[in-house]
Amino acid sequence: MASDGAGPVIQMRNVNKWYGQFHVLKNINLQVSKGERIVICGPSGSGKSTMIRCLNRLEEHQAGDIAVDGIQLTNDLKNIEKIRREVGMVFQHFNLFPHLTVLENLTLAPIWVRKVPKAEAEASAMTYLERVRIPEQANKYPGQLSGGQQQRVAIARSLCMNPKIMLFDEPTSALDPEMVKEVLDVMISLAETGMTMLCVTHEMGFARQVANRVIFMDYGEIIEQNKPEEFFRNPQNDRTKLFLSQILH
């Protein structure tokens, strides 16, 4: 559609959101072009999750425009469903469906939303499970897997829908340290395929390695954004400096 050209796949213009009186997102302007990999960081409560959750309408914004893949995000349910088909999301707590096997978790949306025949959906699910390196777990239930394995299944589940954009909301922060790497490795190899990615994460090594751009948010605003080398070497804003000094020690 509209995104086939060089235009941005995500376009946020003057986006504002309130929870009651509380102003969570203040005049957010963000453009992401195809294939870009963006890392979003910032203190707790700064609105990072809220911002990326607005992109697939898990949260509703109250002012401003959001267009994803050329589709305007309005209250029109049709548009919302179209966008959700193109945007994959990985959550902090995996949110796998515990009553379904790993394979069923992966094939559910392709079968019901994309109307892919079951056999075909299963074949493609297996290739994604191989990509996240756990094909042998296909017939287990999520409750029988480790946290790192569950998160890799969750990534594979999103990929099975062939999304154009992947959103990650702190995908490694609920994991034990020894499992962080296996998930990051999967994300890195995903970045290598040219996927457009927006990751909320505090894994600064990951940001250095794969991001094209790092965004720093505080109090609902985008304070600063830059290429990773510049961002880490030479932060401009005092709040950014303070934040970096805290997380990098």
Binding site: V87, F91, F97, M161
Partner: protein, 365 residues
């Protein structure tokens, strides 16, 4: 590592082992515990042997008349139950046609048994039920296939109880799911409607609903429009049960983590796909115990139809108790009927436990 032999050779202290250890831990762990144990044993000794004596040892199993039974027995007179079992089981249904309600009971039990097996959980099951219920209707009413017509005023006993509870649960359950979903809906009108319905119906006793359905409803209907008493009672039971079940289902919906809804949304599932594939399977599994608890309640509550003069199992027992030829055997009668209720409720309870175990899929996150 330390030497394993040192730890493996340590034996647990003798007193924490064997039945003596068990008794000490569980029955005589302290003064209060000991007192309760003694009290319980005394109560059991005072009642159980006497009951066994009455119900089994001194009981009379067959006797030609009531007075013979009375004189011969130092205990229960089960001959009464034997004498009256057809009246108790089938109520006022024409005597020579009793094979029909008998067959109905068999059909119901077979279908319930079938529905419990996971192998049969396919869309075909709905078809089997439609066929079975049609057969039930034909058998009970007759009037076709050479069966004599029996108006439903004369239906009674166990088939009636089964009809009321099976139809009651079968219609109330889906209705309750819609009510529970409606109560959590974003649409204010639908939400308000469901809340009002649930709170209103839950706020009145079933007896008054039945009474309203049978006595007051006809007053509001235009003369000539008169749908039958059994149907009205059935509808009252369905409406009542649905309100109760709706709250149970809502409990399950609320217990699901928000992340499940979000993951389903993020994958692009529509509302009904999300509800049918992700939310309900998990929510209903969570509430199997209270659901079955409510089912059992509904099953027993059907006996309240006595208030509007329907002869369910309990009421047909009452009818048989007033036979002047067999007076004064209510203890035996009630025990016999209770056993039927108990068998069915116990089955439901056991089945729900088995189902829960079957549906468990590893530990929860």
């Amino acid at each position: 590592m330390t030497a394993p032999t040192a730890t493996t050779e340590l034996k647990p202290p003798a007193l924490s082992q064997g039945w003596l250890g068990w008794a000490r831990e569980n029955l005589f762990a302290g003064p209060l515990n000991t007192l309760l144990t003694i009290l319980t044993v005394w109560l059991l000794l005072a009642t159980v042997p006497a009951f066994i004596d009455w119900a089994l040892l001194k009981a009379v199993w067959s006797a030609p008349t009531a007075s013979v039974c009375r004189e011969a027995a130092g205990g229960a007179c089960w001959a009464f139950v034997y004498e009256k079992h057809r009246l108790i089981l089938f109520g006022l249904y024409p005597f020579e046609e009793h094979w029909r309600p008998m067959l109905v009971v068999v059909i119901f039990l077979a279908m319930i048994g079938l529905s419990c097996l996971r192998r049969f959980w396919t869309p075909w099951l709905a078809l089997y039920w439609i066929v079975a219920l049609t057969a039930v209707g034909i058998l009970m009413w007759g009037g076709v296939l050479g069966l004599t017509y029996v108006e439903n005023e004369r239906w009674g006993g166990l088939p009636l109880t089964l009809i009321l509870s099976v139809f009651g649960i079968a219609f109330a359950f889906p209705l309750s799911i819609l009510l529970a979903l409606g109560r959590r809906s974003n649409m204010p009108a639908i939400k308000a409607l469901c809340v009002i319905y649930i709170e209103l119906i839950r706020g009145v006793p079933l007896i008054s609903l039945l009474f309203m359905a049978s006595v007051m409803l006809p007053l509001f209907l235009p003369t000539g429009v008169n749908f039958d008493k059994l149907l009205r009672a059935q509808i009252a039971i369905i409406l009542f049960a649905a309100a109760y079940l709706a709250e149970v289902v809502r409990g399950g919906l609320q217990a699901l983590p928000k992340g499940q809804y979000e993951a389903a949304d993020a994958l692009g599932l529509s509302y009904w796909q999300k509800t049918g594939l992700i939310i309900l399977p998990q929510a209903l599994k969570l509430v199997i115990p209270p659901l079955v608890n409510t089912f059992i309640g509904i099953f027993k509550d059907t006996s309240l139809v006595v208030i509007i003069g329907l002869f369910d199992l309990l009421n047909s027992l009452k009818a048989s108790l007033v036979d002047p030829a067999w007076p004064g055997f209510s203890a035996e009668g009630y025990i016999a009927v209770s056993l039927i209720y108990f068998a069915l409720c116990y089955f439901m309870s056991k089945y729900s436990q088995a189902l829960e175990a079957r549906l468990a899929t590893g530990h929860k996150r």
